[in-house]
Symmetry: C2
């Protein structure tokens, strides 16, 4: 008899509540602040987000029920399978057991749909008719396009111009799901017109796109803005990943020694790890490692400070590990990890000593991704490759130590829309990036004068 490699759950076994780690942190998370240094209240966020999501953002309730309508949609592809990477284990000759949650099974190909469906639902429930958002490489943009269509909302996505031109397929996905996707900067916004007048050939940036999406939101009727990572409610919605994984491990009487996710804005890492951190807070031994790019070393090298989420400082100040909001990350192919900050909840978990972080080099990630594809079959997204490269390091350590560790990877998405990065890798055109210390310091200098979070 061949050995089963996959643990599946039936629809009725899907988690009915999200896990809110804010209920369990030993110390409370510093609140978002306005530019005046005063805490931002729910009312301040109301022009941009619906109140039901703002309530989730500030909630300290441990378990938050998942509405039935969200579950009915998520069960088209969730619970996602937990698969044992037996092919990779064999190639590494490791005694470690490597498992992965395959979030690539969603229609948009990544974990982003978990929060996109939920955010569209809550906006619709609040009476909102239309959402605006921004996207870099396009994973979030396509997920929110799908979420809006399934919940009956209109959707407009501002896509960083260079990606819009270089990655036309993500735009077609959004169009297929009925969303309007435009290049950013765009003449339809005041900010866009201003930037285009000054720099007609600008490639655009995530910071500009955020500014345009927020401007569109606050100047349009029945419209709100939404974000695909960083915020507390986004991390909350992603905990369905880790909650499912816990159930799946229970079924096979195992428990992970190490939980690994890549970290861009932080939500996919939060999603897989927070439910296990609940066990850790309650005394269970488990390590959680956030794999970030060496090009954007927020948790491995940058300080924990108050900073804005966007270049134009339109968002409140968030307490987080940050390289500084003026930082423009180098052009690594893992576009989803090119962000200057880290989710406040993930940053706080780091402060609390609950998690570790590791910086990964681009070439190591692609090497790991190709090894993965050739042993496990599925081609990973370049973001996901960071988690894989980190897991391979841990599996090699397990071999050296002769220990039968259980490793869990959040396989956050497939790479079928990112094959040009693979081509560049095969053609020897990719290089490693590591943030120079002087650039980090220069970028952090822009934060001078901003409030500083209190010590723990």
């Amino acid at each position: 008899m061949f050995e089963p490699v996959k643990v599946v759950l039936e629809d009725h076994e899907i988690p009915r509540e999200w896990y809110n780690i804010q209920a369990d942190f030993p110390h409370s998370v510093p609140p978002p602040l306005g530019k005046d240094g005063k805490p931002v209240g729910p009312g301040d966020l109301a022009p941009v987000f619906p109140m039901n999501l703002i309530e989730q953002e500030v909630s300290t309730q441990r378990w938050i029920p998942i509405p039935e309508e969200i579950l009915a949609i998520l069960t088209k592809w969730r619970p996602s399978p937990l698969i044992r990477a037996v092919g990779l284990e064999k190639a590494l000759k490791t005694p470690a057991k490597i498992f992965y949650k395959n979030e690539g099974v969603s229609p948009a190909g990544s974990h982003k749909t978990n929060t996109a469906i939920a955010q569209a639902y809550y906006n619709r429930e609040f009476g909102i008719k239309r959402l605006t958002s921004e996207t870099g490489a396009g994973q979030w943009g396509s997920a929110i396009a799908l979420g809006c269509k399934l919940m009956g909302l209109e959707c407009k996505v501002y896509m960083v111009r260079i990606s819009f031109e270089q990655k036309p397929f993500r735009k077609i996905m959004m169009q297929t799901w009925g969303a309007e996707c435009v290049p950013s900067p765009n003449p339809s916004t005041q900010i866009g017109r201003k930037i285009l007048a000054e720099q007609p050939d600008t490639p655009g940036s995530l910071g500009i796109a955020i500014s345009e999406a927020i401007e569109d939101c606050v100047t349009s009727k029945d419209t709100r803005y939404c974000l695909g990572s960083v915020l507390n409610h986004v991390c909350l919605h992603q905990t369905i990943i880790g909650l499912e994984a816990r159930k799946q491990f229970q079924k096979i009487n195992l428990y992970p020694d190490i939980v690994i996710g890549c970290a861009g804005g932080g939500s996919n890492f939060a999603g897989i790890s927070f439910p296990f951190l609940l066990d850790k807070i309650n005394g269970r031994e488990v390590r959680a490692i956030a794999a970030e790019p060496a090009a954007c070393p927020r948790m491995t090298r940058a300080p924990y400070l108050y900073d804005s989420g966007d270049v134009a400082m339109m968002t409140p100040l968030l307490a987080m590990h940050t390289i500084g909001h003026t930082f423009i990350p180098p052009p690594i192919h893992a576009g989803g990890l090119r962000y200057h900050g880290m989710a406040p909840l993930v940053s706080h978990a780091m402060r609390e000593g609950l998690i570790e972080a590791r910086a990964m080099m681009q070439l190591d990630c692609y090497k790991a991704a190709v090894l993965w594809a050739r042993t496990e079959g599925f081609i990973p997204a370049p973001e996901t490759a960071h988690a894989i490269a980190c897991a391979i390091e841990e599996a090699n350590t397990a071999r050296e130590e002769g220990k039968e560790k259980v490793i869990l990877i959040n396989w956050s998405g497939h790479g079928l829309m990112d094959l040009s990065g693979y081509q560049a890798y095969f053609d020897g055109k990719l290089v490693n990036y590591s943030l120079p210390e002087e650039e980090l310091q220069r970028s952090l200098a822009a934060l001078k004068g901003l409030p500083v979070p209190p010590a723990l």
Copy 2:
């Protein structure tokens, strides 16, 4: 409580045997013939295929065990989920219950991996070190690249030049899985050199690519050729789809009234329908509809004749519904359905009155595909869209008749590698194709003088 929409099977519930419909046809299938009109024996095929696959090709054994090693790989993504298309049902206001087998969950994104893994396995077991094959749009090429890598074989794929140039991503997939993918015609073969000398700018064709892959096979050491559809053993390997679906329907105490698959070479339709045809042969009522493009109306309009599988007539003569091997199908986006013939087993099932066929128009298929994406989420391949369009017709009929029919679709693959077709559709650049009668007759004239299959 939300209603479950998905039926999953655990690894240990995967079927352990393929179903061979040759054991149950009321009349036997006419044998393949050589150009001399004499039946082709296993020995004649030995230079091209390994004997263990030739044995499957001619076998009349009803159940053929699936080797454990194949199951161990397939269970990384199989059994594939059976999902109820509640969103589509609602949009159509139909009392019909529409279910689909999501074959898009495989690493290559389609059902093709079911036979690719198996064919690579049997070749390796027979001592073969290297496989050659051809691919049009690239779905089969990528699947066999994966199959070869996971079984430790080398792989060379001749890809129709125009697709090679227009669809670079499929080529990168093959490269990621370690295969060599070259444009066809290619200077590395004698046939390729000859064609390139005569027509340096030729876009290539599937016929040319087959000829090159076979030439490479018979002139190389330890090498065999393989095909992604049409042949009996390919249909056999695909029956795992229908066998899983039968088990899944048992779990929810339902049985399909109508089973629908798109039909190019015929293997995905065979895969979903043959296990249900076994029930039909045993007296159960069930309809099976093959949805083919109106541009390639083999079963709806073309006769059942002996014809070659390729333009250069390198293959034996197969008894099948055919438009004639000189037929070059119009450039519909569903590249996987652009074939002049139909699998002998599917063609024979038609003759036996076990199945129906329906011709679908390109624009109806894209319209159906977009409706699907906007209600069910998953973006279908243009081939799959033919099955969807046919299912929508049946669901509309069920509404008109007020009948609660159960419809099963083989959702053969996702369309994430085919988004340029969607773009062309949105831009109004696609047209309908229906084969003109005079072209059908002209093409069939090329078959004059070939043997004719005996009447039933």
